[in-house]
């Protein structure tokens, strides 16, 4: 697999990997049949991501995307975190092989789920996905 050095760095030295105790929001995306599943935990303070951790089952691209995405949303407002696109994650990793781009969508979707989990727990309306958003994995199997 021809991964960039950035991907290999985040794969081998994942940032923010682990579990957050008492998180304000949890998001799980993917399924083990697809071969990747990401679980993300967020702490929110003053409408910002105060802390974030992830656990990922998956290939090098899935783990690296998870790591990079958490690094990119740390300290950001919830709106900014919501707007983080899978393309931005892939770009920050110096690109992903074409068949691995879906792995970066995993991270985007997991972040959305965590933010909406937080919003619902706060008694707020969950945000809606933008029209045309494709889920990372079609559950066809």
């Amino acid at each position: 697999m021809d991964y960039s050095e950035k991907v290999m760095d985040h794969f081998e030295n994942p940032r923010n990997q682990g579990i957050l105790e008492n998180p304000d929001g949890i998001g799980v995306e993917g399924n083990p049949q697809c071969g990747d599943i990401m679980k993300i935990y967020i702490k929110v303070a003053d409408n910002r991501i105060a802390d974030v951790k992830f656990q990922t089952f998956g290939c090098g691209a899935a783990i690296a995307s998870s790591s990079m995405a958490t690094e990119m949303i740390m300290g950001k407002t919830l709106e900014e975190a919501w707007d983080l696109s899978n393309k931005a994650v892939a770009q920050a990793l110096d690109g992903l092989p074409p068949q691995k781009v879906h792995c970066s969508v995993l991270a985007e979707d997991a972040i959305h789920r965590a933010i909406n989990d937080y919003r619902v727990k706060q008694g707020l309306e969950p945000w809606e996905e933008k029209p045309g958003h494709k889920k990372h994995c079609h559950e066809s199997q």
Binding site: N31, Q55, C59, I63
Partner: protein, 393 residues
């Protein structure tokens, strides 16, 4: 172990060419470069070299020289045997029997034939990847023209009951082809005793050169050609002979067969040590048959983690291996072999194949066991699926 020391445990993918085989090939690229079809003396040397290689292959299989046809690879041999038989016997029938765990060279060829109007039965396998000969017999129809079942599986190493299937095919007067790409040079093959009508071989799986293959075609077999053109290979497979490659595959097979007992004994011991070491990892299991398998094949599954990640981490430590995970394939499909054995998709992702070869030592095996243990734990710590009792920080 030095930084540059590579531990190559992917010998089912390919093998390095033996030095004595390289040495034997080189003269046929420089001084003996003639075209075997030419009249002059220097071409005679090439004809003789091809003839010697042919008889070496024939002896290794208990075949006759004129039943050996050189091809460009195992895939060509499989394509030729299956398409050639199907089209040559269209007046007799259009039904082919194969198994769910064949190499794609067989599987996709059969699927292509289905598009051409042929009918194919894909037999299931048991949990060990074994085809039941009774299923083969039950699948035979009056219009069955070919049974094609692989000798040994490339992913899990399971060796099929080839002699039993051959006997059934012969009794029902149906042609029997076997893809022996993983078996040739590794386990004994006797095309006569096993009632094999056609058998595919690939040179680079037993320390011969890439780009070389053999199709054994028994005398009674009628099949169409795949390659049309010149009069080479008794007018059945056109194309100027890859003389150096043919010399290489012939010698490599002869040497592999000669050394088979010693190699098997050595690899069996290494394999046992490797399997025992890997299975001390909790929630792991061996895929394929416990005893009826290739001496060099180890295929294990570790739950809660994904195979490509294991390979990447092994690669960083200089260890070359393989996986059946979907994430490691361009199609993103998990191994059809492991899923045919009844292993759920989510578990197939955690498979690791290690195939031993001449270069591997006991020290290598111990290094790999320690590396895999460490990597599995590291990935399990990262995985949201891992039960808490298997996490270590």
């Amino acid at each position: 172990m030095t930084e540059s020391h590579i531990i190559y445990m992917d010998n089912a993918a390919t093998t390095p060419v033996r030095q004595e085989v390289v040495d034997a090939m080189i003269p046929y690229m420089r001084e003996n470069f003639g075209n075997p079809s030419s009249l002059y003396d220097i071409a005679k040397i090439n004809r003789e070299a091809v003839a010697l290689a042919r008889s070496r292959v024939a002896r290794a299989l208990n075949a006759e020289d004129k039943e050996i046809y050189f091809t460009s690879c195992g895939t060509e041999s499989d394509n030729w045997a299956i398409k050639g038989t199907a089209f040559a016997n269209r007046d007799k029938g259009k039904h082919i029997i194969t198994s769910a765990i064949e190499h794609h060279a067989v599987l996709y060829t059969c699927q292509w034939l289905e598009k051409q109007g042929f009918e194919v039965t894909y037999l299931p396998v048991d949990e060990f990847g074994m085809v039941n000969p009774k299923d083969v017999e039950a699948a035979i129809r009056p219009d069955t023209v070919l049974i094609t079942i692989m000798f040994a599986n490339n992913e899990i190493g399971t060796i099929q009951p080839i002699a039993e299937i051959g006997k059934i095919a012969r009794e029902h007067n149906v042609l029997f082809h076997t893809d022996a790409v993983q078996a040739a040079g590794h386990v004994p093959i006797d095309v006569k005793a096993m009632n094999i009508d056609m058998l595919s071989i690939s040179g680079h799986k037993f320390n011969g050169p890439k780009g070389t293959g053999v199709l054994y075609i028994g005398k009674r077999v009628k099949l169409d050609s795949l390659m049309h053109g010149g009069d080479q290979e008794r007018k059945r497979r056109a194309g100027t002979e890859n003389v150096a490659g043919i010399v290489g595959i012939g010698l490599a097979l002869e040497l592999s067969v000669k050394e088979m007992d010693a190699t098997t004994k050595r690899l069996d011991a290494l394999r046992k040590r490797l399997v025992d070491g890997l299975l001390t990892i909790p929630k792991s299991r061996l895929n394929g048959h416990p005893t009826k398998r290739l001496p060099n094949n180890v295929n294990v599954i570790f739950e809660y983690i994904e195979g490509e990640s294991i390979l990447l981490m092994l690669n960083r430590r200089g260890i070359c291996a393989s996986t059946g995970s979907a994430c490691n394939s361009a199609s993103l499909e998990p191994s059809h072999v492991l899923t045919a054995c009844g292993i759920p998709h989510e578990v197939v992702h955690g498979s690791l194949r290690l195939t031993l070869g001449e270069m591997n030592t006991q020290e290598d095996v111990d290094i790999v066991i320690d590396a895999v243990k460490d990597i599995v734990q590291k990935l399990r710590n990262m995985s949201p699926l891992t039960p808490d009792e298997l996490r270590k920080y």
